[in-house]
Symmetry: C2
Subunit: 337 residues, 2 copies
């Protein structure tokens, strides 16, 4: 990597524990000499009419300009008349694919060993259309929308990802035995793309069966691609296999190559400001961002330092059964760099 | 139990391994002196215009008359112009609640101990409305329908069940943060019913979080109630925790007190007729049916014989890692009665 000018990236520290774990990322990235200059943006305190949400227009413009960003947890303020922060980001930035690598952390025991899979979720349509209405009193309906364009786009991303990362198989998750037209179209698009990647195995798995197989033997899966809601469900299930959302990274990919990595856990207001939070999910999301920027050396260096610190077990935060403060855990990772 | 006339119950042996495992049920029930007289019905070989499916009208009439039945696996024949057998049964008999007890089998090791929960699934509407259409080329939509009537009905069943079975808590599973109107109505109905059962704890859990918690710590849950698709997904996930669909019973409850118990695994055509099939799911479904009939002594006796046979481990079918034939396993259960 030869560029000498630093890469500008947007940073949303977010709410609750967000600022503390973002601080941890900044320190570790600095210690590893990552050539990134952060542009920090906070969630606004008033609704910005241009975004219809508490996200400021400037913060979205920052991601659009930089094409890359990292986001901590954001608690959507309570009240009506505005859009959820997460959904606003996905819609406004057209973040069409949510990518979550999910692997067992060496030394951190759960019921599962050797989990190593990637969930790729369509992030813009399906059950998240927002189209709902009451037909008559006591009868409501919601619309699930599946389009050829969005299905091809996410399928293309999944196969491209599988190939680029040396993965063997893509499984399309669906319920086309019941939703023959909507999920059927999703599968049709996946099949079309699969034909262009003869070196990648392709299979189709019904969502209920997929969940059963995941809890029985997650090693059966490699890359999974699916419509929005199934992705929401399965990505959390998979995170649970290896320890939960506090340990798993996430990255959203948008049109034109935008990437917004994010920790998908909550903002944990109960422990905010107490130096107790675990920055692992945000750190590993930062690593995903580095990989997206092709900064693989830095990504490997930081990822190894995180995994080694956790594996060693001397410095673990309370959620992992340890006693380390956020700052101690951060320092331990820096020492492992 | 004092009635001397036997209870007539419909039996659908089903396809593939169905007849063999149904034979096992008949032998064990007979050996236990269960006062049931079976009325056997097979899936037809032609579409019956009155049911629009391969199910005969007579077989549905049999369940309507007897009010109780047991069903083996049915493979829906390939081809167009008819309805799926499972969906036909649910619609025609108005089987509004699918109840699946899910518990760890003593002596049969999985990654989880002490699982003991019940999933109760709304079985008639939601994502299974069958209403789908293409809006324009490349854009399809499906309708999810939630009604106050069906939501109240299944919520009522869940709380009634919890109370009758000495359960402490009902969790309503939803995605109302995204589908505010549909899943919102479902929750509203659950809350209304919850108020009538102050002795039962009530909570609401978002489906993605629920799946993560289930794989991390299933002991957090007791009775779960949810719309159709979430029930489909979560009941299979839960079955996976304790060994899969070959070991877990299921019972469908309909208006007017109809109960159709069923093994929800597949018909396993590859091993059909080879005396290799595991009859446990159908047997335990039969036990659910006995409980529905308030034949608790017989239910306990048979359930204990099944669990003891599996726990002892001498006679296990191939799917459980053993070498016993279906008939040997059946005989072992009879010896344990
Ligand atoms: C908070 C919620 C709207 C969101 C979703 O459903 O997409 C979350 O579960 C996620 O996965 O990012
Ligand atoms: C076979 C299929 C239509 C069915 C369903 O989706 O309901 C099955 O998965 C079940 O749970 O009984």
């Amino acid at each position: 990597f030869f560029s000498s000018a630093p890469i500008r990236a947007t940073l949303f520290p977010g709410d609750g524990i967000g600022p503390e774990i973002a601080e941890s990322v900044k320190q570790i990235f600095k210690a590893a000499d990552v050539p990134i200059e952060w542009e920090e943006h906070y969630v606004g305190t008033e609704i910005d009419p241009r975004t219809q949400s508490f996200l400021t227009w400037e913060s979205l413009e920052s991601v659009r300009k930089n094409q890359v960003g990292l986001k901590g947890p954001m608690a959507t303020p309570i009240g009506k008349g505005h859009r959820s922060l997460n959904l606003t980001l996905r819609k406004e930035l057209n973040l069409y694919a949510n990518v979550r690598p999910c692997y067992s952390l060496p030394g951190y025991k759960t019921r599962y060993d050797n989990v190593n899979l990637i969930t790729i979720r369509e992030n813009t349509e399906g059950e998240y259309s927002g189209l709902e209405h009451q037909v008559v009193r006591g009868v409501v309906e919601s619309l699930k929308i599946i389009t050829r364009q969005a299905s091809l786009r996410v399928a293309e991303y999944a196969f491209h990802y599988a190939k680029a990362h040396g993965r063997e198989r893509v499984s399309a998750i669906h319920k086309a035995n019941i939703m023959q037209k909507t999920d059927g179209l999703f599968l049709k698009c996946c099949r079309e793309v699969a034909e262009k990647y003869p070196e990648i195995k392709y299979e189709e798995v019904v969502i209920d069966n997929c969940c059963m197989m995941l809890v029985k033997n997650p090693a059966l899966f490699d890359v999974l691609v699916m419509p929005n809601l199934y992705g929401d469900i399965i990505s959390d299930l998979c995170a649970g296999l290896v320890g939960g959302l506090g340990l798993t990274p996430s990255c959203n990919i948008g049109e034109g190559g935008i990437a917004l990595a994010e920790a998908v856990h909550g903002s944990a207001p109960d422990i905010a400001g107490k130096n107790l939070a675990n920055p692992t999910a945000l750190l590993l999301s930062g690593v995903s961002m580095l990989r997206h920027l092709n900064l693989h050396d830095k990504a490997d260096q930081i990822q190894n330092a995180i995994l080694n610190t956790i594996a060693e077990g001397k410095y673990r935060t309370a959620d992992l059964g340890g006693k380390a403060k956020t700052t101690e855990f951060t320092k331990a990772i820096i020492d492992h760099l």
